[in-house]
Amino acid sequence: MERFDVIVIGGGVVGTAVLRSLAAYKAKVLLLEKSSDVATGASRANSGIVHAGYDAETGTKKAYFNVKGAAMFPSLTRELHVPYRMVGSLVAAKEGGLPAIKALYERGVNNGVKVEIIEREKIEALEPNIAPDIKYALYAPEAGVVSPYKLTIAQADHAVVNGAEIRLEEKVVGISESAGGYLVVTDKAEYHASYVVNAAGAGAVEINALLGESTPEMKHAVGDYYILDSKAAGVVNTVVFPLPDEKGKGILVAPTADGNVILGPTSRVVPHDEAEINAVTREGLALVREGVGKLIPKVDMRSVIRVYAGTRTAVGGDFIIEESCKFKNYFMLLGICSPGLTSAPAIGEYVAEKVSAALHLQKKEAMRPLPPRFRLTEASDEDIKAKIALDPSYGRIVCRCEKVTEGEILSAIHSPLPAHTVDAVKRRVRAGMGRCQGGFCRPRVMEILSRELSIPLSEVRLGDKGSEIAPYEVKDGYGKI
């Protein structure tokens, strides 16, 4: 049986942040993820906002980790080569909304966040397309946008580069106390860990239950989103929120870190067994359109290229970030909903400190850096020429909409945490994320995966098991021409 100092359960943005922070220590660490890739749950399908920190109630864990996490983003994303832009955010209010804006302002000040109340003229300067009846806004210049799945993947890659292990498609089916630690049983193997971190997101309740730990009641809310073509970028410059209500921060309009526009989310409460289904609803999309119309009516819905849904899981009003009282060296990260993405890097550091103190781990002298990915659209002509001269596959465009080369796809397939599905490739290099949504490049990405993984095309999957894309061979001898 393999033995680890720490096992982290769950490969979302929080689990991988914990793993990366643990990789800074001299320790044997493993992350177990039931899906075919990291960032397949809430970390894939969320708004991708780095919240400034005025929203969470002062004194809460949410406020603490939000503010601490947000401050880490500029250097962290530079170090991990993750798309991030500090675009600022606005909470926009109509006539009569000033008291609510003032309340947010005060909370922001109390939380130590840079905030400002601005009026029509300044709002228009920031957002020329803002709805005509918006009079006041809370402006937080340090809010930003980030690619949430690229951050998760980069944290995972960086952890792996520094000796951490990640095992995908291994579902934890049992945890029990054993020999001063835990026996962690998966559907593939058994492990011993001195310390276990439950970062399983919506599935954290099941993980707790395996051990006999109780979980406060979880509430799952599904949100629908639209993504617009990069051609629509420019319709909005900052993250524009309505005034928050009891359901949350409301339906926003924002640029994405990758140059698209995002609209959403709604908030539809679903039972626990539907928490990971993520189905878009027509009603939800209608609500998004309605909400967007109140903020930036100029948004052109004909430039929609994708709709999706994501689920955020809450337990009460605050994050639960604590070691179990009942089980020593068992750490729980529960209800890490918004601002969970923003908080994740700070949570990772915090948990790693707790774990290292408990296990008396020594810090490594330095972490190995994560090498940058070559990106055709961001490279200079000289770099492109040199890259193609060295490896012609960097001159072969596979995804025409996003200008992704075969070389970039190969590097994703052979990255520290390898991409072995079409969606995993997509999240790393954007092949299939453009306006044709993989209409042309998906078969070619499948061909490359089939070749690199030495599997027949019929076994190439979109994502998890059972998602084979072209499972049958044609019978009549048509085929390669």
Partner: protein, 411 residues
């Protein structure tokens, strides 16, 4: 830096015909093709029905492509760059491209023919509700997987949209043993060719339901079923009549979009109806020396028309490069009363015949097509049936054109 009289972007049917047109006029010609072979989408269209008009015989897509490819590559007079993707095109016709063999390419062009074809509207673009499992494809993607790669995407199929590729794939998947349970079309008529409805659906007893759409999809790893419902005349589904159809595959054939991304931010005037450039009868755009032909200009239903149109564009592009393309004033061709769009949108006054292509906005029986210049009727043509899925054309005498021309239908 290399220089060619005519640079053609795209080596599908339009690009190849344009190259031949330009070459015949004595121009030096280059084709930039992003795939590793010429032919474009024809290579995956293994069914027959191509070439009836152009060659007077029935060919498969690869056969039709081969006829052109053989001529294009016959004597080495046309330079073909394969796996060459154009990254940008400037107003003074500097073409920047990338390929694994040539690296970054910069080519100076006397004139440019845009022949990039079109793409299929995706599930995202129609905001398909439900989950995001495997099992949802554009019809063309499924066609490529079966006809180029040799793999079938599923066994129990629902098709949304009755575009031609969807109809062709209904028959193709049936011939592979799949069961096509339904073709749902949101409009009260098909955007596909009548002959495809007969030969691909009726002959195989595949049901086609008009004014019906897919309201949502279900399934996590793989699609397990879709919900369909009838729509009202505003295309709003009646969810009280939603019906569940178990299936592992949903093919989308819900429209084709000219792939003009290269023109984003350019000065080429675009049509909001066709999503292609606005052109004159030479297929020249509003930017002198930039021509457009084939599905990147407007979506065709017959490749034969693509070839014809692109040949003209190539010949004209060669004329432009030599400084011999006649200019002069243009007048507008204005569609109205039943005509959704007409192309070319601008024509020159002068000599000879000009063929105007147009599409109607719904199905018409026994209508007359009228072309009028001022108060004068310059051409009239009686028709039996006109459908939006079948492109029409009418020829007019350029010498009769004195001002803006309108084209419409009447009882």
């Amino acid at each position: 830096m290399e220089r060619f009289d005519v640079v053609i972007i795209g080596g599908g049917p339009a690009g190849m015909a344009a190259a031949l047109g330009a070459r015949e006029s004595g121009a030096s010609v280059a084709i930039l093709e992003r795939d590793d072979r010429l032919g474009g989408i024809l290579n995956q269209c293994i069914h027959n029905g191509f070439g009836l008009h152009y060659f007077g015989e029935e060919l498969t897509g690869p056969e039709y492509a081969k006829r052109f490819r053989d001529q294009v590559t016959k004597d080495g007079g046309i330079k073909v760059f394969l796996e060459a993707m154009v990254l940008s095109l400037t107003e003074d016709r500097l073409v920047r491209a990338i390929s694994p063999t040539a690296g970054l390419l910069e080519i100076e062009a006397g004139s440019v023919v845009l022949a990039m074809g079109c793409r299929e509207r995706s599930a995202g673009a129609i905001a398909l509700a439900g989950t995001r499992p495997a099992g949802i494809y554009t019809a063309g993607m499924a066609q490529r997987l079966s006809n180029i790669d040799g793999y079938l995407v599923g066994k129990e199929v629902v098709i949304l949209g009755s575009g031609d590729i969807g109809l062709i794939m209904a028959r193709r998947m049936t011939s592979e043993g799949a069961k096509v349970k339904l073709v749902a079309e949101i409009m009260p008529f098909s955007s596909g060719l009548k002959r495809n409805i007969v030969q691909c659906l009726n002959d195989y007893d595949i049901p086609l339901r008009y004014s019906t759409t897919v309201t949502r999809v279900a399934g996590e790893g793989r699609l397990v079923g879709v919900y369909v419902a009838p729509v009202d005349d505003k295309m709003v589904p009646d969810l009280s009549r939603e019906e569940y159809i178990p299936c592992d595959t949903l093919l989308l054939s819900v429209g084709l979009i000219p792939e003009n991304d290269l023109l984003n931010g350019s000065k080429v005037e675009m049509s909001r109806v066709t999503s292609g450039a606005v052109v004159d009868e030479y297929r020249q755009t509003s930017v002198p020396g930039v021509f457009s032909a084939g599905n990147v200009l407007h979506v065709h239903d017959l490749v034969d028309n693509v070839s014809e149109e692109a040949f003209v564009a190539g010949r004209s592009a060669a004329g432009f490069a030599r400084g011999e393309l006649s200019g002069g004033d243009t007048v507008n061709v204005l569609p109205s009363q039943g005509v959704r769009y007409a192309l070319p949108q601008r024509i020159h006054k002068g000599e000879g015949k000009i063929k105007i292509y147009f599409r109607v906005d719904k199905v018409y029986q026994g209508r007359t097509v009228v072309v009028k210049c001022g108060e004068e009727v310059i051409r009239k043509k009686k028709t039996l049936v006109m459908a939006p899925g079948e492109m029409q054309n009418i020829e007019i005498d350029a010498s009769l054109v004195t001002g803006d021309v309108s084209i419409y239908t009447e009882e």
